[in-house]
């Protein structure tokens, strides 16, 4: 390609039209609308228009007790509900200085990583649908079903788990869960190889993703893009290491990074994270101590006045809860800093001058969950 961007942004000589991609479009994964100013197939300006499923979780937080807001957090990013539960629960624990039993912490880590795998699998399959490959979806969902079955047996729900509680977890796991999880880890490794054969090494996919939508580390920093996006740009930023929480400091895992910064780099980071999550699950299962799963929690929660932050590494990047308490039993302010919001804000700058399918390949690689953006 001889720099299509030059001709696309040359003023005065082009006839442009506006393509309204969405809010109902097969590639938008929900109700994201992108107002694209196009010159032929070249995207001159892609302006995301968001808010179609805005639910004002932050206002809801100011209208219910600390405990009542907990189910909401799993519904922000429905694909990584446990990470969001974790951040909120841990922020309140931080405010109230609640001790969490070690068994509960390990269970949190194990289930969170299972949730990360299931979330990445949805991303992977949905991304391939964006790219026109329909079969991987079914394979990924086959694996994901096994995870969801395991999590459902423990939490009672398949998606919006609300498994974590202030001071621990909802209920203890049984032997069947531990056995099933080990079996899943065993069975999933060969599947990863199959995914590599079927998709990752595929020349068509490589041609579609390599050198598409490069994002520099500097851009990630300026836009606050985190998660696989910043790791795909060569920065080993992971909240699990940068602001260690739970029992992650005790566990041995790597932060996969790729220096290229293109869509393929983000893709490979996602795939490498699946393997790392498996490692964390294995270690968690090996070290899972006995003991209670719920610590001592005051009956009525009234965190002392002040503000408290807690960030976790959700499947899509840094998720932070900023709580402001005025000492009452309902929060004064709940700020939810969601990763997809910051990740999408990159899109307008980076998509300029790309052709439409490449822009969609870039958008997919950002791993967007629309409720996570709109909250």
């Amino acid at each position: 390609m001889t720099s299509p961007a030059d001709s696309a942004v040359r003023p005065g000589v082009n006839e442009t039209f506006v393509l309204n991609l969405g809010p109902q479009h097969p590639a938008a994964h929900g109700v994201l609308r992108v107002k694209m100013t196009m010159d032929g197939e070249y995207v001159m300006r892609a302006e995301p228009v968001i808010g179609y499923i805005h639910r004002m979780h932050e206002k809801m937080g100011e209208n219910r007790t600390w405990a009542q807001f907990l189910p909401n957090t799993g519904r922000i990013d429905y694909l990584s509900a446990l990470h969001y539960n974790h951040a909120y629960v841990a922020a309140v624990e931080r405010a109230l200085k609640i001790e969490v039993p070690r068994r509960a912490e390990f269970l949190r880590v194990i289930t969170s990583e299972m949730n990360r795998i299931s979330s990445h699998l949805v991303w992977w399959s949905a991304y391939l649908i964006d790219l026109g490959g329909l079969t991987p979806l079914l394979y990924a969902f086959d694996d994901r079903e096994k995870l969801l079955d395991l999590l459902e047996a423990v939490t009672g729900s398949r998606l919006t788990y609300t498994y974590f509680r202030f001071g621990g977890v909802y209920n203890d796991v049984d032997e069947a869960f531990l056995r099933g999880t080990r079996q899943f880890v065993r069975e999933f490794r060969p599947r990863l190889k199959m995914y590599r054969d079927l998709v990752t090494d595929n020349i068509i996919l490589r041609k579609r993703l390599e050198n598409i939508g490069p994002i520099s580390a500097e851009q990630c920093r300026k836009y606050g893009a985190t998660g696989p996006v910043i790791r795909g740009s060569g920065v080993a930023y992971d909240v699990r290491r940068a602001e260690p929480y739970s029992v992650y400091p005790e566990l041995d895992f790597e932060i996969p990074t790729r220096p290229e910064g293109d869509s393929m780099a983000r893709y490979l980071v996602h795939m490498a994270e699946l393997e790392q999550s498996l490692r964390i699950i294995e270690q968690g299962l090996d070290r899972l101590p006995d003991g209670p799963v719920l610590g001592k929690v005051p009956r009525v929660l009234r965190p002392p006045a002040g503000d408290y932050c807690f960030a976790v590494e959700a499947a899509r990047g840094r998720f932070m809860v900023r709580l402001v308490s005025d000492g009452k039993d309902i929060p004064y302010r709940v700020k939810l800093r969601t990763p997809s919001f910051s990740n999408l804000s990159l899109f307008e700058e980076t998509s300029r001058g790309m052709i439409l399918p490449d822009a969609l390949a870039l958008m997919g690689s950002l791993d967007l969950v629309i409720p996570d953006i709109d909250r």
């Binding site: 189910p71 394979y139 459902e152 047996a153 939490t155 009672g156 909802y170 054969d197 090494d201 595929n202």
Partner: protein, 149 residues
Amino acid sequence: MKASILEVPRGFWSLLVGMRVTLTQFFKPVVTVPYPHKTLPIPARYRGHIELVVDPATGRPLCTACKLCERACPSDCIFVDGAKREGEKKKSVTEYRLDFTKCSLCGSCVEACASDAIRFSKDYNLAGTRKEAYQYDLVQRAAEEAKKP
């Protein structure tokens, strides 16, 4: 130049590898379950909508209408009313309405319950054509359940 020429056979080979993967899957058995002809077992902890637990001794709900669940509910979908029966120390429930259209199945009510009087039902085939169908009268539901052998 050499790399891009080599890329052609390598790329073609990667396509063949991919096709081998799908063909292997082609001859493997189906993994889906033909719902509704067959269904999967529901785990014991499945969180359906709530229902009242019936005391097997008396055949009446255990609920004492303490309204803890009503207060715990984030979505205001529970209404409980109770009255004292003659000769009994505790109140007993007379009305327990669940507005399932608002319920988000979070389970806060079950957790809040001090007397283990509510539990999750295993109903999941919850399609309907009218909104009113989801205003559950749980006392009536419990009474019907108690009648069953």
